[in-house]
């Protein structure tokens, strides 16, 4: 073989490698064949659209009171009925998606960023940093999540959605740190990683180019499943009066209003159904992603 053809085949080889999809991208593509997961995607995207278009779709102002039409059951004028202040529940549920859905996304994104970064550094650098980060994670995890979130929100001065969201991030980051650290540790001892060092890759490059891409799958699955959990947790804090403040149409706060009016089913049922549909959709997507991204599942 001459030097020329060798070079040529090397270029061809590179081209082929570049064209080949990473397992992660392949997994996302495989997801399209999973009907349940796609149903989840449709519902979730639907909610995103509703959140964006709420002012256009909603027939009424979500905070406008109409005291002559209090607690009316669902009808053709008020599809989901009215609450104890005569507000239109359908409009409030639509507007609620603008609070609940972004809350879940923001909380999980922040937890992923903080926990992922700390976990990656803990696993990659090890030593005292690892010890400190993981002990901190352990101690947060030894509190029941809602109770710790409740006391953080209270210590930050009580009600208010931002206090609730900060509290939930403090409660959630350790799980991401653990998953990330585990993934980094598992990848760190691979030969292709140890081989990168003698050929001159810096530690930062090893972490960024050789280790972090391999941690995508578990973190993406976990975050997807957690957005639903974060929405429920935020709603839980609002339900007990430590999250969204009235008259904001947050789903948990809407259900809380129904607490004193439990003879009427509609003020609580519709925000709850909205929340359940989002949570189920995210569960379906998360489960689908897990099946698609786990190579052991793919072989079957």
């Amino acid at each position: 073989m001459t030097a020329g053809t060798a070079r040529e085949s090397l270029t061809l080889e590179r081209a082929r490698v570049r064209k080949e999809r990473t397992p992660f991208v392949q997994g996302i593509i495989d997801l399209r064949r999973n009907k349940v997961a796609m149903a989840g995607v449709i519902v979730f995207v639907g909610w995103l659209v509703i959140a964006i278009l709420a002012p256009v779709i909603a027939p009424y102002d979500p905070v406008e009171q109409d005291l002559s039409h209090r607690l009316e059951p669902p009808s053709s004028t008020h599809w989901f009925g009215t609450d104890d202040l005569g507000r239109d529940i359908f409009s409030r549920v639509l507007y609620g998606s603008r609070i609940s859905v972004p809350s879940g996304l923001i909380v999980v994104a922040a937890s992923l960023l903080i926990g992922g970064l700390l976990g990656a550094l803990a696993g990659f650098i090890g030593g005292w940093l690892d010890a400190i980060v993981m002990r901190a994670a352990d101690v947060v995890l030894s509190f029941p999540s809602l109770i710790l979130a409740l006391s953080i929100a209270a210590a930050r001065g009580g009600g208010g959605l931002s206090n609730a969201l900060i509290a939930i991030v403090i409660v959630l980051w350790p799980e991401y740190a653990r998953v990330m650290r585990g993934a980094v540790l598992a990848l760190k001892s691979n030969e292709y990683v140890t081989a990168a060092q003698p050929i001159g890759a810096t530690r930062w490059r090893i972490l960024r180019a050789h280790i972090l891409p391999g941690t995508q799958a578990p973190l993406v699955v976990k975050s997807t499943l957690d957005v639903g959990g974060a929405i429920v947790l935020t709603a839980g804090l609002s339900f007990i009066g430590l999250g969204a403040v009235p008259p904001d149409p947050e789903w948990g706060a809407m259900i809380a209003l129904a607490r004193s009016k439990f003879q009427f089913w509609w003020p609580g049922a519709f925000p709850a159904l909205a929340m359940i549909s989002v949570v189920l959709a995210l569960n379906f997507i998360g489960d689908g992603l897990r099946d698609a991204l786990d190579p052991r599942m793919r072989k079957r």
């Binding site: 509190f143 839980g236 003879q263 189920l280």
Partner: protein
Amino acid sequence: MSAFIVRRILLSLLALLLVTVVTFTLTRSVPGDPINAVVSDRIDDPAVIENYRRKFGLDKPLPMQYLYYMRNLARGDMGLSISTSQPVAKDLRRHLPATLELSGAAIIFAILTGLPLGTLAALNYNKAPDALARGVALFGASVPVFYLALLFIYIFSVRLGWFPTGGRLDAGVDPPPFKTGMYTVDALLAGDFALFRQALHHLVMPAVVLGAFSMGIVSRMVRSSLLEVMGQDYIRTARAKGLAESKVVSVHAMRNAIIPAITVIGLLIGSLLAGAVLTETTFAWPGLGRYAVTAATKLDFPAVIGVTLVSATIYIVVNLVVDILYSVIDPRIRQT
């Protein structure tokens, strides 16, 4: 064996120590004067406040303050609560039994329903009962416990009138003589069966609501571990020697399948205590969770932090007990 248990106990003590560091940090992050974290700001007797300022060393540097905090904790002093104007420790003791009764009943419900459901699912892998179990678990995991509580009240109290909407006993009824603080147990101990029935009648709905999520987890766990065990050689041997399938499952498979499910119960305690906050609030159940919520909305920090500390302690201790039990049942675990 004992080395494992000693190490596990030491680790739990370390965790408890770190938990107090967190609660101490929380007491120092409350808005305004740190005295607010030990004496609520609505208690304005200067003598009481001065007494607590001295007792908690609030004029000393931070590390010293922590030592004072620990000393007071060791004496069972967590400050004064506004909601009741009582020492927090006393309030917690009064509310804890109600939460223990509710969580205990929820766990029992979760096991009594989750175990057969998971078994049924595993034995009918990918058939209708399996799908049913999956649906129940998914339902338990996706319906928020606070809405489930309202739904149950609407259906079973308002529409059907089968159960009371809340509380531990009917209005105006005196609780049984105090032994454990759990009304069902105390009523039985006092031999008062009518009162026992009434306490149980009040307990059923909150316990089912609180246990619904755990039931789903238990059934999934039992299903997957039973499926794994059923594929093993000794099960094939048991079948080959002509044992009835019921015997293979109940005697041979169940014993090994149940072990991993036990650890899950320890972890479920955390979600039960968190769920109790919402369940108790909805059912007007006077336990720790409802106490914490009332306290939090009134910014009664000593009480909130007290509940936080106690619930973390319960969580750590229960998991310690579960781990020790696990190591007794499954000797392999001790080597790791």
